[in-house]
């Protein structure tokens, strides 16, 4: 057994400094497109997006982050591409968010229940990475619990398939107040590429009141962490659309 102790100690500390300071390593995030002025090509570019995440108004392209499925067709194989930013602080308020963030005493200690309502495996895998030495969510007071009775935050991935509706509702009802719902991933926000399926609800907000939304397909672990920090009130919420959007939702 001692071999493991020594091996572990020799690995040192690799944990990211986020949220104290920004994480700049490569490959931690796929980024999101930034809207911009594209003039004449704007209309054609907007057509390329298969999930209608791009809107065009007078040559100006804005992005609804909630819909983006990271197909990169606005950036690859096209002459005037949209710029992408390597950000990850994407957690935004749910549209019908009725509640503030959790606040004390949950700021430094929140128990999270992760429910898979039909996700593809990538969002869930990113959630699993939160426990690895690079992100180590325990240092921020986030713990995964298997039972809703102990949970403060419900983290849902997937578009909510028909067969999981009853289970998801039961889970939400079994959680004691105060509780918050964090929807993670494009499928959980809008249904993603499965939105048109007759067995998909088209997003968690169709079934439960969602407090924090984390876009991405899948959102990287840092984005999920940001979403959790927003839910407990340690970080301000971001906007769910690009800065070039008109006032209100496009």
């Amino acid at each position: 057994m001692s071999q493991w102790v020594i091996r572990g100690l020799r690995s040192g500390i690799v944990t990211t400094a986020y949220p104290r300071s920004a994480e700049t390593a490569a490959g931690v995030t796929p980024g999101l497109p930034v809207g911009g002025e594209l003039g004449a090509q704007a209309a054609a570019l907007v057509q390329r997006c298969p999930v209608h995440a791009l809107q065009e108004a007078g040559g100006r392209v804005s992005v609804d982050y909630r819909r983006c499925v990271h197909c990169f067709r606005c950036a690859r194989g096209v002459d005037s591409a949209l710029a992408w930013q390597q950000s990850y602080e994407w957690g935004s308020r749910g549209e019908a968010a009725p509640q503030d963030s959790l606040g004390d005493p949950f700021r430094r200690s929140a128990h999270i229940l992760v429910v898979d309502a039909g996700d593809c495996g990538a969002c869930l895998n990113e959630v699993k990475q939160l426990n690895n030495p690079y992100y180590n969510m325990h240092r921020l007071g986030f713990f995964i619990t298997p039972t809703p009775r102990h949970a403060d935050v419900l983290l849902v991935v997937g578009p909510v398939t028909d067969h999981m509706r009853v289970a998801l509702k039961k889970i939400y009802d079994a959680m004691p107040t105060p509780k918050r719902v964090v929807a993670v991933g494009a499928c959980a926000l809008t249904g993603g590429v499965f939105a048109d399926s007759f067995v998909s609800a088209g997003g968690v907000h169709q079934v439960l009141p969602v407090d924090v939304e984390v876009p991405g397909n899948p959102p990287p672990p840092l984005a999920i962490l940001h979403g959790l920090l927003v839910a407990v009130g340690r970080k301000p919420a971001a906007s769910s659309t690009s800065v070039h959007a008109a006032a209100g939702r496009p």
Binding site: P148, M164, V166, A167, K170, I171, D173, A174, T177
Partner: protein, 715 residues
């Protein structure tokens, strides 16, 4: 009123009851049994209580039988203790039986049942007040036969099984009676008469072999009725087959008579002079306790569980008595008294909580139609009062404070620890091992009764939706309430019970146990008795004086004192425990209701089931599953064989059914009964070769016999 008068009142009540029962119609039998049975029980209890409290018994010679003995009635403290316990048990048992007579289970046989039950009461008391061996054996026989008849008196269900169980009861009972009678006769070999006084004085002159003979014959002979391993095979079957109205009496009153017989002969008439007899009793007791509780934990039929648990409790009593015999033989009278009081206390406690549990099981069976724990569940919603009473019984039998089982088990285990004061290493080792065995038994008992209560009353209801389950009638509820209150009383008032049992204890051990166990903290300082002042001061600081002047008696603390170097081994007070417990519960309730939930709502939601659409009863733990770990750990004792049939498949891939059956033979059956039976059959087969039909050989047998007889005659 003197004890004698009360005993005569008792017999009068029984007789009157029998007369009324024969005269009145079937509808009035319940009333007869209820009123006159209760009157009789009260009279018996009063007789025992009066005799114990005022230390006054009686000896009443009846009729002399030429050449044999004078038939005598006598009530000494030992019998008085049993009489008190029996009377108090028979009171609620009569109420319950009276209630059951109105039900379905005895339709058509009410009169026979009432007559036999009242006659059984009379025979029980006859055994207890018999003053000579002949009357004793007469009462014993009547009691045995009446037990057999009452077991057969039930109706409905498995009549063949019932007949077989009854026959086994009778056969083994008679074998036991025979052995016990032989033992008594062996004891009486040199006695002028058969009354107990004469037997006692004759006993002092017996040699070693005769003592061992008497011990073994009476120990295992009376042990049949008590349910000691290895002569217990009849017990689980008879208790399961006995009708609901009779089972409480069978378990609560007649079981004790076996222990009475053992104590009477081996602790009173023929007190132990060798430690080895006591050690045998100790070991057999521990073995019974372990085997009993193991089978109780893994059984699923409620009545069989209680039957096996009776074996366990009897084992604990016998272990305590055996320890007492060892201490008495090695001249430690104080320790012997502690041991005997533990045994008597446990015996009394067992009568009460076992009767309570049997009545509870009877109520459950009446309402739900089944005794199989795998099919019960969730009854607490439909029968909350029964569940509460049953819970009291379950907590008592599991030995948890503040109920009575805790006190007597604690006393028994503490007695085992006192083996440190013995001089023989061998005895010490036996004590230590048996103490460990008894501790294991206590732990398993908790498991067993958690399972019994939880699987029957808690969880999801597994019974048919259509079955209506309600609280049972007033008779059942009131009998259970009486017993539950008695269990609580015996649990929180040990400091009154031990002095009450003193006369019986001194009869067995030579000295009472109150001095050793119940120091008089309430007495004013000059009357303190044997307590050194520093000691008293220390306990005063701990609060042992709380209640002085308000509560009667010597004190509320039961103390287990060691020798000089270690004055206090352990001290406890269940009354203070109850007070503190009640206080803490009340405080917690207040804190939660008043303070913590002030600003919040209480929400009631569905149970969490993993997100299933519907949780079904078959998705909850069964009794078999709950006790499976015990079955696996003690596999060497159970030795089950599993038969699996997986042939029901389609195309070798789609399985339709996997049929499995687990078969096992009781360890006593495997190790004692089956070998004995095989040996007997072997001998019979061997002897049968003599019956080959050849006339010439038969003629030779006759010649051989003649030669042998002539040879012996000449010699």
């Amino acid at each position: 009123m003197t004890a004698l008068t009360l005993v005569l009142v008792f017999f009068a009540a029984c007789g009157a009851g029998i007369v009324f029962s024969l005269v009145l119609g079937p509808a009035r039998q319940g009333g007869v049994l209820g009123w006159l049975g209760c009157a009789a029980a009260l009279a018996a209890a009063a007789a025992g209580g009066v005799a114990l409290y005022s230390s006054s018994g009686f000896v009443l010679p009846l009729w002399p039988l030429a050449e044999l003995t004078t038939l005598t009635l006598s009530l000494d403290p030992l019998a008085a203790a049993f009489l008190l316990a029996s009377g108090l048990v028979l009171l609620p048992a009569s109420i319950y039986a009276a209630g059951e007579l109105r039900g379905e289970s005895l339709r058509g046989r009410e009169r026979a049942f009432t007559v036999m039950l009242l006659a059984l009461y009379a025979s029980i008391v006859l055994v207890l007040v018999a003053g000579d061996a002949l009357l004793f054996l007469l009462g014993w026989e009547i009691m045995s036969i009446l037990c057999y008849l009452l077991v057969l008196s039930g109706r409905g269900g498995e009549n063949g099984q019932r007949a077989a169980s009854g026959y086994l009861l009778l056969a083994m009972g008679e074998a036991g009676t025979l052995a016990a009678a032989l033992g008594l006769l062996l004891l009486a070999r040199n006695a002028p008469a058969l009354d107990f006084a004469a037997l006692k004085s004759a006993g002092t002159g017996l040699g070693a072999y005769a003592r061992w003979g008497v011990f073994l014959l009476t120990f295992f002979g009376f042990g049949v009725k008590a349910g000691l391993v290895p002569v217990n095979s009849w017990l689980q079957r008879a208790y399961a087959a006995a009708p609901r109205a009779f089972a409480p009496v069978l378990a609560g009153a007649t079981l004790n008579l076996g222990l009475y017989g053992i104590l009477r002969v081996n602790a009173e008439l023929l007190p132990a002079t060798y430690a080895s007899t006591g050690l045998v009793a100790l070991v057999v007791g521990t073995a019974s306790a372990l085997i009993g509780i193991l089978y109780a934990t893994t059984d699923n039929d409620l009545k069989e569980v209680l039957a096996h648990s009776s074996i366990e409790n009897v084992g604990i009593v016998v272990a305590g008595a055996g320890a007492g015999m060892v201490f008495f033989a090695t001249r430690h009278p104080a320790l012997a008294s502690i041991a005997f009081v533990a045994a008597l206390y446990h015996l009394i406690n067992h009568s009460f909580y076992k009767t309570l549990l049997f009545i509870g099981v009877g109520a459950v069976e009446t309402q739900s139609g089944t005794r199989d724990m795998d099919r019960l569940g969730g009854l607490i919603k439909a029968m909350p009062l029964t569940a509460l009473a049953f819970l009291v019984g379950a907590i008592s039998i599991a030995g948890l404070p503040p109920f009575n089982g805790f006190v007597s088990e604690w006393l028994t285990l503490q007695t085992m620890l006192r083996a440190a004061e013995l001089s023989s290493i061998g005895a010490k080792i036996v004590f230590v091992l048996c103490g460990a065995g008894l501790a294991l038994t206590a732990a398993l008992a908790v498991t067993c009764f958690v399972k019994v209560f939880a699987m029957s009353f808690l969880g999801m209801r597994r019974l048919d939706r259509a079955r209506q389950v309600r609280e049972p009638g007033r008779a059942t509820l009131s009998s259970m309430t009486i017993l539950a209150l008695i269990c609580l009383a015996l649990g929180v008032l040990p400091t009154y019970v031990v002095p009450l049992l003193d006369p019986a204890t001194s009869q067995l051990a030579g000295t009472g146990a109150s001095d050793a166990l119940v120091p008089s903290f309430f007495a004013a300082s000059r009357e303190h008795g044997s307590l050194p002042p520093a000691f008293r001061a220390e306990f005063h600081d701990l609060g042992a004086q709380v209640g002085q002047g308000v509560l009667p008696g010597r004190g509320e603390v039961v103390l287990h004192r060691g020798g000089e170097a270690n004055p206090v081994v352990f001290a406890m007070s269940t009354l203070y425990m109850l007070a503190v417990l009640a206080g803490l519960l009340a405080l917690t309730y207040l804190v939660v209701r008043v303070w913590l939930t002030r600003a919040r709502r209480l929400a009631r939601g569905e149970r969490w089931d993993g997100g299933l659409r519907r949780l079904l009863p078959e998705m909850t733990y069964t009794a078999t599953g709950f006790s499976n770990p015990v079955r696996v750990i003690f596999d060497a004792i159970f030795r089950p064989t599993t038969v699996e049939d997986t042939r029901d498949t389609v195309a070798e891939h789609f399985r339709n059914a996997i049929r499995r059956e687990r078969l096992s033979v009781h360890i006593v059956g495997r190790l004692a009964v089956q070998p004995a039976r095989n040996a007997a059959f072997g001998i019979a087969r061997g002897l049968a070769t003599m019956h080959h039909g050849r006339l010439n050989a038969y003629a030779a047998y006759v010649l051989l016999a003649l030669v042998i007889v002539l040879a012996f005659g000449l010699l």
